[in-house]
């Protein structure tokens, strides 16, 4: 093992049901295909293994619903993955049982990301989620029982029919369960989903309301002593660094290897995306060959733009050292004058600078990035 990639993403596409708003690579049902899929994943891992560093920092098993995977296949996958400092598995609340908690724990998983989305039954129905509020509480109980001390919730706001008080209820119910980490996303109308077909106009019409909802989310969570460390991500402020380190790797421009159906890797200035068709993925791997994939070259200029785009999502200053050629200096000055960002010497570097977004700048990070890139 001579590689340097320290972050591994593993995609498990299976779900019990495809939610109307979802545009991830998923496959519904097909329990008989879970085991062969895991075997294919492991073949791919073996093929790419040389890219990985001897010691991994993070592994993230995402989906789909990884915890929906048939349990022997899931165990086989988890025990075959390399160890890492942070190992996260995504789970839907209704799939979390005491046994599952123990299984995850036994196989080195130390962080669980729960797809909660909302605590309000009528909103969960709109989203076509199967879990109810009680499933979430039960899942947290089982996970704590299995001594998980790093649990994250995914919450969605901007669900059609969600009032401001619905949002407040969701936030307070979530906080009552004291998760270490929270991701709060505005519901997006993604092209081609059933949901966009049914609710696209409502979502477009509520754009201005969403400004207030987003502000509400940030205000409530920061008041509850959560750190707003990324545009949509919050973690409890305590001695441990509870930020999602796997995702931090994406946001700070580190290389990562992705295996599985539709998984994306970015390694050494090259980004590749595996095929999203199950048969085109498993077929070649069964014969020991790599699956079909699209490759995108990332020239330095593009990588710089990405570093600006991603870096501005974080609450830490973005060092100008690596991105200077990508920036429009006039825009930089204009945004500084407008109170959206500040410039300061970077930590420990007397010469070079870094930029930090102000609070208002962080709410406008996308617009700031679009203006900043040359």
């Amino acid at each position: 093992m001579t590689g340097r990639v320290e972050h591994l993403y593993v995609h498990v596409p299976f779900c019990a049901h495809r939610c109307g708003y979802c545009d991830f690579v998923t496959a519904v049902g097909r329990r008989e295909e879970h085991a062969p899929y895991v075997e294919a994943l492991l073949v791919e891992l073996a093929l790419e293994r040389e890219l990985l560093a001897p010691e991994l920092k993070t592994v993230f098993v995402g989906g789909g619903t990884p915890t929906f995977t048939e349990s022997r296949a899931l165990a086989r996958l988890l025990e075959s993955l390399p160890a890492a400092t942070e190992v996260t598995v995504e789970a839907n609340p209704e799939t979390v049982t005491a046994e599952l908690g123990r299984l995850l724990r036994r196989h080195g998983v130390n962080r669980v990301s729960l797809g909660v989305q909302s605590f309000r039954p009528h909103l969960l129905r709109t989203l076509e989620r199967r879990a109810g509020p009680d499933d979430v509480r039960r899942a947290v109980y089982h996970l704590r029982d299995a001594s998980f001390d790093n649990i994250s919730f995914d919450l969605i706001y901007g669900i059609p029919g969600q009032s401001a008080s619905d949002l407040d209820r969701d936030l307070s119910e979530a906080l009552a369960l004291e998760p270490e980490h929270l991701s709060c996303y505005e519901l997006e109308a993604k092209r081609g989903t059933r949901f966009t077909y049914a609710h696209g106009q409502e979502l477009a019409a509520q754009a201005e309301t969403m400004e207030a909802y987003y502000e509400r989310v940030v205000e409530t969570l920061t008041t509850a002593s959560y750190r707003w460390y990324e545009t949509a991500n919050f973690c409890r402020s305590e001695a441990r660094d509870l930020r999602a380190r796997h995702n931090l790797a994406y946001w700070s421009g580190s290389d990562y290897l992705g295996i599985g159906l539709g998984a994306v890797s970015t390694v050494g200035g090259r980004r590749s995306r595996n095929t999203a068709r199950l048969s085109l993925y498993t077929g070649p791997l069964m014969r020991g060959a790599r699956p079909a994939r699209e490759v995108e070259a990332l020239p330095e200029a593009v990588r710089r733009r990405e570093r600006v785009m991603l870096g501005l999502r974080l609450d830490e200053p973005l060092p100008l050292a690596g991105v200077r050629g990508a920036l429009d200096d006039a825009a930089l000055a204009r945004l500084e004058r407008g109170g959206l960002l500040t410039r300061a010497p970077a930590d420990g570097a007397a010469v070079d600078e870094a930029i930090s977004l102000t609070a208002r700048g962080r709410f406008l990070a996308g617009g700031v990035a679009a203006e900043l890139i040359a």
């Binding site: 993403y9 991701s183 996303y185 505005e186 519901l187 997006e188 969403m210 400004e211 207030a212 987003y214 502000e215 545009t231 949509a232 995702n247 790797a249 994406y250 946001w251 990562y256 992705g258 539709g262 998984a263 994306v264 970015t266 980004r271 995306r273 995108e296 593009v302 733009r305 990405e306 785009m309 991603l310 999502r313 204009r334 945004l335 407008g338 959206l340 962080r362 709410f363 406008l364 990070a365 996308g366 617009g367 700031v368 990035a369 679009a370 203006e371 890139i373």
Partner: protein, 595 residues
């Protein structure tokens, strides 16, 4: 042919009243066009004319009927081309006054009919479309008879569509319209009533020979402009081009000049022989000046050279088009163009977009202003942003408007005209139900949306025509627009002092809607000099960031960002504010925005 056997005539008709169809029937009946060549509306050559159902450029066609040579001189059918119409009429001895029997006389027809009567033309009234169920031939005949002072019995009733009565029309032309009576021995004189440009042969002039005769290869001179050239080819259209050795007094035809610049040979000028020139030109030549101006800017600034080339080419075919380079701080490099009127502007814009495939931004049109400076000098200003702060007085062009409406709409039309600073002149009943209203109005009040308003106030019934009557002093002020404190030249407008507040307020309200929210609060102000008369604020955006971004979708999110960036580049940067190009058209629809 000898003059007693020649008849020169035109057809005066409103758009869609059947002029082109009648022309087609005439060609058919006289066997001028073989059936296989018969296309609908033979005379309208340009694609655009076909689509808009109007005739932009006149042509002349020669046909034979019962031993007579009939020359049909086609006239342009719109208010902007009154001068060309008057020249076409001067080339004839008579006119068919063609009216849709279902609709009656329209303002434009009336104006042109008066023009024909002033030119001493014999008018042959014709009621068309009698085959339509809703046609009222008796009503139309009565209106026509009253107009030309004739007996309703003498009004011909036809259907150009079915061909009924077309032969009688041709007979009436021979019987009622006088033959030309020029002096064939006198020095040659011919009236240029139209011209076009052929990229291989240069300027082609359409002429009516009044006296003497012209021969091929003869050196000629245009008397008003002094342009000299040789007649490379003479001929006529029947309806295809037929070259001849000579054109004689009384005849109508074309002259291929080889000239490369249409502005050297203007409509209304008189051609004569360079060797044996006439002493006096034919009367009536005018140098037509554009009265309506607008800025034309390429949407993509890289297209500036293409726009310049396109205007150059267009001008070859359109002597009335005027343009000069203009630089706007907001819109970049473009041209300030002058037009005869609004339709002319629309036609030019459409031809630029269609024939030259250009994406254009056209600023709100304005009129020409005469500025009298404190030192008594007179300066013509084509662009509101050029209006000096120091001035003695401003003069603006006025028109005399003729509006024909059913009597129940007189009230709304008067109200509209009062709002537009109109001065009532007189009113006259054309029939029991239809009224002619005559008003004097500042041209500036009709260049924006007057015609649309007129149509909507009268449920489409009003017909409208106007004539320029000169410049008059007006209490006019320049209203500037400031976006985030920066004055935006392309949004300045000149308005009457009494309307300045309302217009300024409407404009900033409109801009607040048109300019998307930015990352900062953006004040939008209207000001006269340093005095702010209206203000709105575009509130800053509070959120502009994508919900999530992980390893799997970085590429997609980056592309979205790049698209957002490209979108920003297409906007015009005014100081720190991105203004979409559409916002510059806000001035166009301040009164409700129907466009």
């Amino acid at each position: 042919m000898d003059q007693p056997h020649i008849r020169n005539f035109s057809i005066i008709a409103h758009i869609d009243h059947g002029k082109s169809t009648l022309a087609d029937r005439v060609l058919e009946l006289t066997d001028a066009v073989a059936d296989r060549d018969m296309r609908e509306q033979v005379l309208d050559t340009m694609e655009l004319e076909r689509e808009r159902g109007i005739t932009i450029k006149a042509q002349a066609v020669r046909v034979l009927w019962k031993g007579h040579q009939l020359n049909l001189i086609d006239t342009p059918g719109h208010v902007d081309f009154t001068y060309e119409v008057s020249r076409s009429l001067q080339a004839c001895e008579g006119s068919l006054l063609l009216v849709d029997a279902a609709q009656g006389i329209q303002a434009q027809t009336l104006a042109n009919a008066y023009l024909a009567i002033e030119n001493n033309l014999e008018i042959v009234p014709v009621a068309n479309k009698i085959d339509l169920p809703q046609a009222d031939p008796d009503g139309a005949a009565a209106e026509l008879a009253q107009l030309v002072g004739d007996d309703p019995e003498n009004v011909l009733r036809i259907s150009a569509k079915t061909g009924v009565g077309v032969g009688e029309v041709l007979d009436a032309i021979v019987e009622r319209i006088p033959a030309p009576s020029g002096n064939r021995e006198a020095p040659a004189r011919a009236l240029i009533f139209d011209s076009s440009y052929d990229q291989y042969r240069g300027v082609v002039a359409f002429v009516r020979v009044v006296d003497g005769s012209f021969r091929t290869r003869e050196p000629l001179r245009a008397m008003a402009q002094g342009t000299r050239f040789e007649a490379e080819e003479l001929g006529f259209f029947a309806p295809t081009r037929q070259a001849v050795e000579s054109l004689e007094a009384g005849e109508v035809g074309y002259v291929i000049t080889g000239l490369k610049d249409v502005s050297k040979l203007r409509v209304g000028d008189t051609l004569t022989s360079a060797a044996r020139p006439a002493s006096d030109p034919l009367p009536g030549y005018k140098d037509v000046k554009p009265m309506v101006f607008a800025g034309l800017f390429p949407t993509d600034s890289d297209d500036y050279p293409e726009l310049r080339d396109a205007l150059e080419k267009l001008k070859l075919n359109d002597g009335a088009l005027f343009y000069e380079p203009e630089t706007s701080q907001a819109l970049g490099f473009g041209f300030r163009c002058g037009f005869l009127g609004l339709l002319h502007m629309e036609i030019v814009r459409e031809r630029l977009e269609r024939e030259f495939d250009l994406d254009l931004l056209v600023t709100a049109p304005n009129v020409a202003y005469n500025i009298i400076t404190p030192s008594g000098e007179s300066v013509e200003v084509h662009n509101p942003s050029e209006m000096p702060a120091e001035l003695e007085r401003v003069e603006e062009p006025y028109i005399k408007a003729s509006i024909i409406v059913p009597k129940e709409f007189v009230g709304p039309v008067m109200e509209l005209n009062n709002e537009r600073r109109g001065r009532f002149d007189h009113m006259e009943y054309l029939s029991e139900t239809r009224v002619l209203l005559s008003y004097e109005l500042p041209l500036a009040e009709i260049v924006l949306d007057y015609y649309d308003q007129l149509k909507s106030q009268t449920r489409g019934y009003a017909s409208f025509d106007y004539d320029l009557i000169g410049f008059r002093e007006g209490k006019l002020v320049r209203v500037d627009v400031l976006i985030a404190g920066d004055s935006v030249d392309a949004l300045s407008l000149i308005v009457h002092r009494d309307n300045a507040y309302a217009r300024g307020k409407a404009l900033v309200e409109r801009l607040r809607v048109e300019i998307p929210r930015q990352m900062f609060d953006v004040p939008v102000q209207a000001a006269i000099g340093s005095r702010v008369i209206a203000r709105e604020t575009i509130k800053a955006k509070r959120k502009d960031v994508l919900a999530k971004c992980y390893g799997g979708d970085i590429t997609r999110k980056r592309k979205l960002l790049e698209k957002q960036k490209a979108g920003k580049k297409r906007m015009k940067q005014v100081g720190a504010v991105e203004v979409p190009q559409e916002a510059f058209l806000a001035v166009l629809n301040l009164d409700g925005g129907k466009r």
